[in-house]
Point group: C2
Chain length 157, copies 2
């Protein structure tokens, strides 16, 4: 199964591909860009969901075998500290991550399937701003999670 792919073991900047969105942000913040970080940055740049570390690791390995899960853990932690990715906690006992440059969005978690749906809602954002103001604060960020289930129509068990 070891496909004789040419792009394996991408040796850092020897790699010709252009910097990914996240890699660019890393560079701007002066982070040392190793091959592994470049791969993880690419995976994050290309993901449109909320992968957990295990999943990021899987995707990273698919691009380049030279990544260990420990490094994925270390990297997402670093990126979170730098404000490049956001850590999400959907109460599953592990964290999920997504790039912060994807914009403000909220989540609806299907409590039965664990599926996560992203959504935006201006009315809600306005209300949130309102509530903060009422408490004497200026809103910086909102984290909203709706835990819900599909109405039981014909599947009680």
């Amino acid at each position: 199964m070891t496909q004789p792919g040419p792009a394996r073991r991408s040796r850092a900047n020897t790699d010709s591909r252009p910097a990914s969105r996240i890699e660019q942000m890393c560079i701007e913040r002066g982070l040392k860009m190793t091959g592994q970080r470049r791969i993880i940055a690419r995976v994050l740049s290309e993901s449109e969901d909320h992968p957990d570390v295990e999943e990021l690791y899987r995707r990273a390995v698919a691009l380049d075998a030279d990544v260990s899960i420990a490094t994925v853990y270390r990297t997402v932690r670093l990126l979170e500290e730098k404000g490049i990715v956001a850590r999400r906690d959907f109460g599953e006992g592990r964290s999920r991550y997504d790039p912060t440059d994807r914009g403000q969005h909220h989540h609806l978690i299907d409590v039965d399937t664990g599926k996560v749906i992203e959504f935006e809602d201006e009315a809600h954002d306005a209300l949130a701003r309102d509530i903060a103001a009422k408490l004497g604060f200026e809103l910086v960020d909102v984290r909203l999670q709706l835990f819900a289930r599909r109405p039981e129509q014909k599947k009680p068990k």
Copy 2:
């Protein structure tokens, strides 16, 4: 240090104290009320914060040594399933709990001081229900966290 208190090892319903708020709810739902559950129910009834399991265990032991941490875990899980307590996740790697009958409340976190302010907002809850419905779901629980700061009146930095 073993205070010769008289109320230790409260033997189940031999205990004369009236049922706590949470205990009452347990009884209503037909849960078998053991001495341990009674203690944990009391601890939860008396708490006004968001204790984690470790903290609940500490408080429970302070009231009655006959509680193990495993039982605290099993009990909060049971109470959560019964809708008696809510599990909170502040992204610290552990869960915190609080009685649901305290009303649906949310949190505003002061990003400068880290202080957490609790608040309720019916309009918000209604809107949340609305949003879920619009997405085809039935709301089970809402988690709202507002990250905010006091308006800069005297130099942010």
